[in-house]
């Protein structure tokens, strides 16, 4: 029995360790690389000083940049990438459409509207208030898009078109809110943030992003088998013993919370939820027991790399991270479209 358990655990443990090492390396890279590159040993010293008070002698400015700016930023990028990739996996499974992704389905746009409404109208306020607003907006837009797609006949194309309609509607609402209520400086800040921007990230953001993503990951791992059972549709899942309504609510809830949190922290970053799960299906297959952890890891690493790229692409300028992900994601989206045509 123990030998049996061990034979199961061995690959799981191996992959777990490999994943943790990859993620750690990506985080260290994300912290070291930037406009002012920091030598690796400085990075390790600063981390040691903070984590267990090692008392190494390092430059105070380097230490400040690293600990107060780059590390939280990198950690939020990781959490955000994982969260968005997981949201993509969940949506693709539930709506049974390879093109489903929080950005394309208008969930991100709705979250943006909610967050902006809270900010400029002064409802609630604060980070939690903004996240709550984003959550309300995300839920509303998702409901509208799914209902519209169903009313239009429920096909794959209908869903994507409904997503476009939803995105346009909520982006227009956001613009309206900004024009009506924000002053010029606020407006510019909001617009920049909406394109996806990690430059304002500090430690309090980390304490929101990481727990949300980890909870989302736990829900997705727990329901991985249920997501597998959705392969042939909800009725088929029900006949396989899945409590369809409950699973849908849990998964949609987790997705909406993750997307809303990420949008309220860093704006709307597109294509991660689309491209990462798709790429991972090639590597680990379509079964969610593997796809979920693999996508979370790949999403985290991808967004760290995208963030580093956004910082060093144009010297002296930070390109919004949403622009970087779109530059990679849009061709990826095209590839998925073409592949789907071949399969149909």
């Amino acid at each position: 029995m123990t030998a049996l358990a061990a034979s199961y655990l061995r690959p799981v443990t191996l992959w777990g360790v490999a994943g943790a090492v990859t993620l750690t390396l990506a985080i260290l890279g994300g912290v070291a690389i930037g406009e002012t590159p920091l030598p690796f040993d400085t990075v390790l010293k600063v981390l040691a000083n903070h984590l267990w008070g090692a008392g190494h002698d390092v430059d105070a400015i380097d230490a400040g940049i690293l600990w107060s700016y780059r590390l939280p930023r990198t950690l939020v990028a990781a959490a955000c990438g994982a969260g968005l990739a997981l949201s993509g996996v969940v949506l693709q499974s539930l709506v049974r459409n390879a093109l489903a992704d929080p950005y394309l389905l208008g969930v991100s746009a709705g979250a943006g509207t909610g967050a902006v409404a809270v900010t400029v109208l002064g409802l609630g306020g604060g980070m939690i208030g903004m996240s709550a607003g984003a959550f309300a907006g995300a839920s509303l837009s998702f409901a509208i898009v799914v209902l519209l797609a169903r009313a239009a006949g429920g096909g794959s194309a209908q869903l994507v078109l409904a997503g476009i309609a939803g995105s346009q509607l909520f982006n227009a609402l956001t613009s309206f809110l900004i024009t009506k209520s924000a002053n010029a400086e606020q407006a510019r800040g909001i617009m920049y943030w909406l394109l996806g921007n990690l430059s304002g990230v500090r430690w309090p953001d980390v304490t929101l992003a990481i727990p949300v993503t980890l909870s989302g990951l736990v829900v997705c791992v727990w329901l991985a088998r249920a997501m597998d059972a959705f392969a042939f549709g909800a009725a088929s899942a029900a006949s396989l013993g899945i409590a369809v309504r409950r699973v849908q609510i849990a998964l949609i809830g987790a997705t909406t919370v993750m997307t809303a949190t990420m949008v309220s922290l860093v704006g709307s970053i597109g294509f991660v939820g689309l491209v990462i799960p798709h790429a991972m299906r090639f590597v680990v297959g379509a079964r969610h027991g593997r796809l979920v952890p693999a996508s979370a890891l790949a999403g985290a690493v991808f967004l760290i790399v995208a963030d580093v790229t956004s910082r060093i692409l144009i010297p002296g300028q930070v390109v919004p991270i949403g622009v970087v992900t779109a530059l990679v994601g849009a061709p990826g989206f095209a590839a998925i479209l073409i592949r789907n045509r071949r399969r149909a």
Partner: protein, 257 residues
Amino acid sequence: MKLHAHNLGWTTRGKTIVDDVTLDILPGETFGLVGPNGSGKSTLLRLLTGLLPRPAGRVHLEGVPLESMSRRDIAQRIAFVEQMADTSEALRVRDAVELGRTPWLSALTPLGPEDRRIVTEALEATGLAHMAGHSWSTLSGGERQRVHIARALAQRPRLLVLDEPTNHLDIHHQLSLLRLVSMLSVTVVMALHDLNQAMGCDRVGVMENGRLIACGPPAEVLTPARIAAIFRVHVTPLRDPDDNATLFRFHCLEDHS
């Protein structure tokens, strides 16, 4: 496994699709459901497996009301193969059949050796063992149908509900499927298109406009007069000298009026 349906009905958007069906399925029997397109066969099968919301009437599974059982409890007893369930997931044949183990596994337990054995057996029973690694998108309609049957077998149900299982199969696979089904020790309820195939069931039920209008041994139920009235075809029963089985030959009603 004994199934009892009492005054079962289903209405959607003011239209009654299944109307007041009372039916007993006996343990071990093979029950065929026939009727014209749109007569409510698929809907009745979904009602019997508890898949439709807000049904009228009740279904009891071995004396236990279906609505008091969890989906998982039901899935450990009843497997259901829908008409034409498709997926865009890049699944392999074996993955799809492994889905049948879902009701027997908890969230985090991986498939055990016993589960793998059951899956392999299901693949062999449906003649798919050599295709286990093929991907779903490369399969023909008939192969897909057999994968669904294999998945249902891997579920190890005591009641197997099949909706027009022979629909996409060539004649060889139609016959081997019906033979497989008749050899299983489980109770089978299936909707069938082919009245000659229905003749091979222990009992048949005839649906018309959502009502179960006749139910009993095939020779008693599928009379030429009834077939003419329901299916609007004229039949000539023929006898196979080999085994004295009755076969139907169909003609247009117009040619015989």
